[in-house]
Symmetry: C2
Subunit: 224 residues, 2 copies
């Protein structure tokens, strides 16, 4: 039973720091979206498309989470107002970004200049579901080549998502993926999730996704 206690303590400590992060963000009027997916589903590509589409409307910072390397941060650094790289190590407990890592990263961000921060979580469909970071919205990307059974196999991360993005729509003619079945599984787990069908490669659906972001940022600002 000891192991469970340790895990519970880690999750509770994470929750406390996540709340502190959100208070800091709200004080500076910064909206934060936590972007999660399996490896290679298109988190960095989505962030790049979002930066390019919204750069005249919002000042956007990016926190790049990776086990190793800075390749993603290098890709976005010319498009974003500010970029902070977090490299976790290959420790079994670092299979997700954690609130304490975001707390550190926010210290390196010009919060007063920013409207929106996009967090690219580690490529993983298991752990990030458990660790809130202080974000206002959680977005999950699923991509067609992964198959339409992911909601059945990794349910928790779908249950907690505010939006689910189906990426790589350009590959639809070449893979077996039943969009209706996937959407049905998602709405069974999470009827309130907004679902977008996009292709970061062709630009399909990016406008609707960016409109959703603008709505979220505005409605959050009005509530405060």
């Amino acid at each position: 039973m000891k192991k469970i206690e340790v895990v519970q303590n880690v999750l509770e400590a994470n929750e406390t720091i996540a709340k502190r992060n959100q208070q800091l963000l709200d004080k500076h009027k910064v909206f934060v979206i936590n972007i999660m997916s399996a490896p290679g589903a298109g988190k960095t590509s989505l962030i790049l498309q979002t930066l390019r589409t919204l750069k005249d409307k919002l000042n956007i910072g990016v926190i790049e989470g990776d086990v190793a390397s800075t390749v993603d941060a290098e890709k976005v650094q010319n498009e974003a107002e500010a970029v902070v790289q977090i490299n976790t190590r290959n420790m079994p407990e670092s299979c997700s970004l954690m609130a304490v890592m975001i707390e550190s990263a926010l210290k390196d961000m010009p919060l007063d200049k920013l409207d929106l921060v996009l967090i690219e979580n580690l490529g993983n469909l298991i752990c990030p579901a458990e660790f809130t970071l202080g974000e206002h919205k959680r977005v999950l990307i699923a991509s067609l080549p992964e198959g339409d059974d992911k909601p059945i196999k990794y349910p928790l991360i779908f249950v907690d998502a505010d939006a689910v993005i189906i990426n790589k729509m350009d590959l639809l003619p070449h893979v077996d993926f039943d969009i209706a079945a996937f959407r049905g599984s998602v709405s069974g787990l999470n009827p309130d999730a907004d679902v977008f069908q996009i292709s970061c490669k062709t630009g399909q659906g990016i406008e609707q996704w960016c409109s959703w972001i603008l709505q979220q940022v505005e409605s959050h600002a009005m509530k405060r």
Copy 2:
């Protein structure tokens, strides 16, 4: 420092049970391969192709690891000699199969009737690198749509693999993936890894992969 100690204890306990698993397997002359990948890279499809190709040569059991659901076990149950499903839960520490789960699963397998057990690990490129299960060989599947930068971003799981499979070769005309760059990154991290280019959809490369398995099983049997 407490957290690190706990993690170390978990890994050491895992290692002890993994060694015990391997002793049991060697006693019963069963060879075990641990198959790892990101979600949707094709672990179940590879297992199905392997079962179909080798069923006249080896008696094969399968251990299916999933966070939730039994869809993979259902897919393979008609082709394998024996199938055991492990469902981990959405606990942060269960982002990999662990040796203790395999110890339980092996109790439900007819070991005296089997030559080979294929373990399908959870879809994750981080945690499974840390947890040995008692397997004789570790195989990592990377699939083209994930992108060619995975060895740079998730190095540890590549360092420890005995074989790396590049799956979904049929999608090569439709995705940006530099095979030479990927193979270069893999051999930089792990010059001894055997690399196979396959498509579970078209059957490309399956014969070479199955020949590799037969060689491994035979050379292990000769050493004992």
